[in-house]
């Protein structure tokens, strides 16, 4: 059965616009509908995984109309987005009861999902920009949702840097259109292949790297993230750190670099350098934090570094004409780490939300001994910490192992060493979380706190199970061939993307 691709955008968009109509009486209805929408997106994403198809909007032939393209990479991203948004939506049923305007929250949340699904599916760069703006504007509003002092400040900072990033991306798109006369990704890729990279296009590529780098918070462009992610409500922090920086940043960047412009050694090394900076700087900055969510946010910067490192290493190997299997392994490591990080970082943010809701604070110095009061949250947080550090049976171990093997195989022993050292730094920061938040003496004023029951627990348990089982994605050959391999192949195929899209 083939599913028309626009449903991935239409379902959250339609549900999102229905939400503001719901007043106080219809609030439960709105909540149920929003959860049904995310659940249906999970089901749809599972059914389309591994397929590839092109949908032409309004039946216009390709260079004239807008087209949506589903391939391995889009399928993987759709699955990640829908699973994380399902868990975050489940969590927000109970968590968002403390805010007054819940339907508005749900509406913005669904708009953000619609934007992200659109970015992932779009086969046209201007259309990608439009969806990117939908997702970003919804996320600016969500960061400032609490309307407190810090939320507004963080939201303004995020919005200024986000808008500058969008202006850079639009400028890049204008240059691409001026130089190739097309906006369709496949046609642009073909035009660049035949004409080569002239000065205007090289400038456009630089603008894209800065713009998408800002969106994915790689280190010289990271200033907004540690403010914005902690200020949002916990389910939104989970979405922002878990999937938003990856779909708007890493996915869009790798699509542009690999499939449109084609890889070159310079670009590969730029990506590797940005990745290394993010990994090391993010980890060191995270260790010094005392705010629970702020520590998690800095750790996200460091972890996105891993993802970009895998992809950049793949680009370096590919552009030097190296062994295809080695390049595939590096990219596999990057993409698998992307999926893993989406799951465990969103779980960590959900646990931080649960802790904040129970204790009323995010300051780690005022906590301690919560293990006996919040057993489920503690178990989930420990599982996620073990995953992110890379303790063997859990998911993070496998993706880091793949990255280390890929780096050693390609002859970059020092890269492998950096990966291991940053893992140790990650271990330090999560030991700090465990010790300060869950172990040690319980402060007297927190003696009476209760575990959060219901939907919040359910969401945390769901993501914890995923954390444990994600390793199966690379161990079981059938799953690897069905989900990860097609995504890797899209990137290693590079600019032959255009041939494939045009023949479908």
């Amino acid at each position: 059965m083939s599913i028309p691709l626009p449903v991935f955008v239409a379902i959250p968009l339609a549900t999102g616009f229905f939400m503001p109509i719901c007043g106080k009486k219809l609030r439960p209805v709105a909540t149920v509908l929003a959860n049904l929408a995310t659940l249906s997106l999970v089901v749809l994403a599972v059914t389309v995984i591994g397929q590839s198809s092109v949908y032409k909007i309004g039946e216009w032939p390709i260079p004239l109309g807008i087209n949506l393209v589903l391939d391995g990479l889009s399928g993987l991203m759709l699955l990640v987005v829908s699973v994380v948004s399902f868990a975050a939506m489940l969590f927000s049923i109970k968590y968002m009861e403390q805010y007054t305007a819940k339907p508005k929250f749900l509406s913005l949340f669904l708009l953000m999902i619609a934007g992200m699904n659109g970015v992932v599916l779009s086969g046209d760069i201007f259309n990608l920009y439009v969806f990117l703006e939908i997702a970003s504007i919804a996320s600016y509003a969500l960061v400032g949702f609490g309307c407190g002092h810090e939320e507004l400040e963080a939201s303004f900072k995020y919005m200024v840097l986000g808008s500058i990033a969008s202006a850079f991306i639009l400028f890049g798109i204008a240059l691409v259109y001026g130089n190739t006369g097309n906006l369709n990704m496949a046609y642009v890729a073909r035009a660049i292949q035949s004409s080569g990279l002239n000065k205007g296009l090289a400038f456009a590529l630089a603008l894209f790297i800065v713009g998408f780098g800002l969106k994915s918070a790689l280190v010289p462009f990271h200033a907004w993230l540690p403010d914005a992610h902690p200020s949002a409500p916990a389910p939104i922090s989970a979405m922002l750190s878990g999937v938003l920086i990856k779909t708007l940043g890493v996915y869009a960047l790798s699509r542009v670099v690999f499939n449109i412009f084609g890889v070159s050694p310079q670009i590969g090394w730029v990506l590797v350098a940005l990745a290394l900076l993010s990994m090391v700087a993010g980890a060191f900055l995270a260790i010094g934090q005392w705010d629970f969510k702020r520590l998690l946010a800095y750790s996200s910067i460091s972890q996105v570094g891993y993802v970009v490192l895998g992809i950049g290493l793949g680009a370096v190997i590919l552009s030097h004409g190296g062994n295809l299997a080695w390049a595939s392994l590096a990219i596999l490591g990057g993409l698998f780490h992307l999926a893993n990080h989406a799951v465990y970082k969103s779980l960590l943010f959900l646990t931080s939300g649960s802790v904040e809701m129970s204790t009323g604070t995010r300051e780690m110095r005022q906590m301690g001994g919560l293990a006996e009061r919040l057993p489920v949250t503690r178990a989930a947080c420990t599982l996620a910490s073990a995953s992110i550090v890379g303790i063997p049976p859990f998911s993070g171990f496998w993706s880091k192992l793949i990255l280390v093997i890929a780096a050693v195989q390609a002859g970059f022993i020092w890269l492998a060493a950096v990966i291991v050292v940053v893992s140790l730094l990650t271990l330090i920061m999560y030991l700090k979380v465990q010790r300060r938040v869950f172990l040690g003496p319980l402060p007297e004023n927190l003696a009476g706190i209760q575990e959060n029951k219901g939907s919040m627990q359910l969401a945390m348990v769901f993501l914890s199970c995923l954390c444990v089982m994600m390793g199966l994605l690379v161990i079981v050959p059938a799953l690897k061939a069905g989900i990860l391999d097609p995504a890797v192949k899209v990137l290693t195929d590079g600019v032959s993307y255009s041939v494939k899209v045009l023949s479908m």
Partner: protein, 115 residues
């Protein structure tokens, strides 16, 4: 040359957004950037003495295409203007809310988040 001027306008906007301390001026800087990009897009499609891209009955398609301007960038700019209007509205409303909270537009005095 016109493209270089567009880029100059873009850089002026970027300078304003990065250097200014007043929140509203930062917003104005960002909008200048967006308009520089819009201008650039329009210029890409324009050629000197071009006519509006609306074909009439009786006109020959080939000669019309060479005489008219490119309509696609105009459609793009319309979309981009709508998007930037949306983000402008949000930015200004955040500015107003921040003013209510802090009583100032000066970003050097709005510094609770550090580290």
């Amino acid at each position: 040359m016109p493209y270089a001027l567009c880029f100059l306008l873009f850089m002026i906007g970027l300078y304003c957004a990065v250097v200014k301390k007043n929140m509203v001026k930062i917003v104005i800087g960002i909008m200048v950037m967006e308009y520089a990009v819009n201008l650039m897009l329009i210029m890409l499609g324009y050629h000197f003495g071009g006519v509006a891209p609306i074909i009439d009955r009786g006109q020959i398609a080939e000669s019309f295409i060479s005489a008219s301007v490119d309509p696609l960038p105009q459609a793009l700019v319309l979309t981009a203007i709508v998007i930037s209007l949306g983000s402008l509205a949000l930015m200004i409303s955040i500015c107003i809310r921040t003013y209510e909270r802090y009583g100032t537009f000066d970003i050097t005095q709005i510094r609770r988040l550090k580290g």
